[in-house]
């Protein structure tokens, strides 16, 4: 095997050293040819160049004329807070007070910006308002607060003046207040009378309340005339309702 490998190496070495046959190169005589094509001389259009020079896009020279109006405004603005600045610089107190005020103003500005954006987007945020109940009992047609009305006196006054329509209305508002005070209804200005009737579902007060609601609606919305005797009958229904409540 070793002999075979030796013979192989000797053979490959002799092939690698072999030289190719040389071929005699044929010489070609050099010929110089002249370029006889006509040359057109082009001139630079000075007017066009001047025109380009006047255009803003081709003026590369940057004349820096100091800080912009905006930058100058902010410098002036912050200089207003340089109360403690002396010739030797700031005292320690004024230095920190200035920084603090600067940040308070920045935070305030950002908060105001957020508020403006939220308001313009129609999002109502009540961060400054107390989380009170949505409405509370604060409305009647005449912007009355039914907690502030002296019902007994006002009903008596209206009835004695023959204004039975108003008297029936006050009787009904008193009934609503009574139900609300006893937590039987959740009084809201936007709720209809029938909504309160539904709210009293499975409550013994529902039937009598439905009855007085009907009386009120006939008088207040139906514009039915109420006579003295009719008012007595209606008053009795309201009295029964009032008496039957806790």
């Amino acid at each position: 095997m070793r002999y075979l490998l030796l013979i192989f190496l000797l053979l490959t070495a002799s092939i690698a050293n072999a030289k190719p046959d040389t071929i005699a190169a044929k010489k070609v005589p050099a010929v110089i040819r002249l370029d006889t094509a006509s040359v057109t001389l082009r001139h630079i259009d000075t007017a066009a160049i001047n025109n380009y020079k006047k255009q803003k896009e081709f003026i590369y020279k940057d004349d820096y004329s100091g800080p912009s109006l905006w930058t100058r405004f902010w410098r002036w603005f912050w200089s207003l807070f340089d109360w403690g600045k002396t010739k030797t610089g700031y005292s320690n107190f004024w230095k920190w007070a200035g920084v603090l005020i600067k940040y308070i103003i920045m935070i305030g500005g950002i908060a105001a910006l957020i508020l403006v954006i939220l308001k313009s987007a129609g999002i109502d945020i009540n961060i400054f308002r107390k989380g009170a109940r949505k409405a509370g009992i604060a409305y009647t047609e005449l912007d009355e607060n039914i907690h502030e009305i002296d019902f007994e006196k006002d009903i008596e006054t209206a009835a004695s003046a023959g204004n039975y329509k108003l008297a029936v209305r006050l009787l009904y508002l008193r009934a609503l207040k009574q139900l609300s005070d006893n937590n039987l209804i959740d009084w809201q200005p936007n709720k209809t009378n029938q909504a309160y009737v539904q709210e009293l579902n499975n409550n013994p007060a529902q039937g009598p309340f439905k009855n007085i609601t009907r009386q009120f609606e006939y008088v207040w919305y139906g514009d039915f005339a109420v006579t003295g005797s009719g008012y007595s009958q209606i008053t009795k229904l309201f009295a029964d309702f009032k008496g039957g409540r806790p």
Partner: protein, 325 residues
Amino acid sequence: MENENFEQRTDLSKLNAAVENIKASLAQIIVGQQHVIELIIAGILADGHILIEGVPGVAKTLTAKLVAKSIDAQYSRIQFTPDLMPSDVLGTSVFNTKTGEFEYKRGPIFGNIILIDEINRAPAKTQSALFEVMEERQITMDGELYKMDEPFIVLATQNPVEQEGTYRLPEAQLDRFLFKIDISYPSLEEEISIISRQHQQKTADQLEHINAVLQGADIVALRQTVRGLHVEEKIIAFTARIIHETRNNKSLYLGGSPRASLAVVNAAKAVAAIAGRDFVTPDDIVKVATPVLRHRVMLTPDKEMEGLTADDVIAQIIQKIEIPR
């Protein structure tokens, strides 16, 4: 009148009897949907056209057909398709070779109760043919004016616009419908009842035996009664505030028109009459506000993308406004 303390002002007995008859007649076939039936009757009494929307298979067409069947009047049905032309609805002039003149051949719109099935499958061109007849109850053709007979009621059904092959109706046409009534799926109990009835083959038999319980002329008289109902100034102001708020609400791109204000009051009168009252209460206004306004208002694109519906916004608006009390 349901209250002994007050004298009877308006005789609503005939109206209430007619309403009960229609309800009873429809209850033989339709399971549940009492609210829908009541609104349809209110719409008819308020002299309005009614659009019924719902997904396929919730008995929109059946309800409309039964209402039409329970009224003895000329009934006509038009199936709206994408290739329907205005002349297919209104009619067209045809040349009479004998007389040598053009004669107007009336379309199916001439009738008392017109059921337009799948109204939103026809393009805007065909829809616009209905504008004049729905609002003015007349057709102008070749310079001639043709008045519709009273009562003239359009009951239209449609699939929600998200469904395949449907168009959105033009705003001008939507405004001409008094109500848009949404029919939802029945409850579990109602579904069981529907299947049981169908299983016992009751529905098909009963459908044949539905008779007219009201004459067309009666409707005209009942409408007159409804028109005369009392509406207090404070109720009118309450209605106006609701409509006004729809125009200023940030969630709405298009608010209610003055026609919508009139529609709310007219519809509330009909609802009050059905309830046996000859006056309107805020409850009546609240009850009809959503079906009257939901197709008249348009949400802003961002609110629509948020998934808000017209019903939600109308409910929010009503909640903002104080009840006159």
